[in-house]
Symmetry: C2
Subunit: 82 residues, 2 copies
């Protein structure tokens, strides 16, 4: 059955304490290649049947209204994955 | 600066209570198109400089050792996003 992946990230202008914690841990491990880490959520929705345009529109709506908090998060991706 | 996205999902055979809660909420909203929802994490690592093969290998190692718990999670994607 097809799967639709929805990616949600904290708004860029917001502090991301979890991301900072991971970045700090990497630095302490001597990993210097990265200047920042941000952590968001990845949703996999298994679709019953085919992925029509109507289903995709529905997912975009759900992503904005249910899967993310528009005050602090952005939906950064809605993608069909066979 | 280039960004590398690491996607981590709970192992397929594990119960995903958060995913079940979202699926239940969608059903109660009358949304019937989906047979399941699973929720994982999306990491965005901002790279200082270019993304060499060495940096990519390092990210795969970090993804397995630091960004995921191999007992309950799988790294399902490591992708360079310009």
């Amino acid at each position: 059955m097809p799967t639709i992946v929805v990616d949600v990230m904290p708004k860029a202008e917001l502090l991301d304490p979890q991301g900072k914690a991971v970045a700090g841990a990497l630095a302490r491990m001597g990993v210097e290649s990265f200047s920042g880490v941000r952590i968001g959520k990845r949703f996999e929705l298994t679709v019953d049947g085919d992925v029509s345009d109507a289903v995709l529109d529905q997912v975009r709506e759900i992503a904005a209204d249910v899967l993310s908090n528009s005050v602090i998060e952005d939906v950064v991706g809605v993608e069909v994955v066979e």
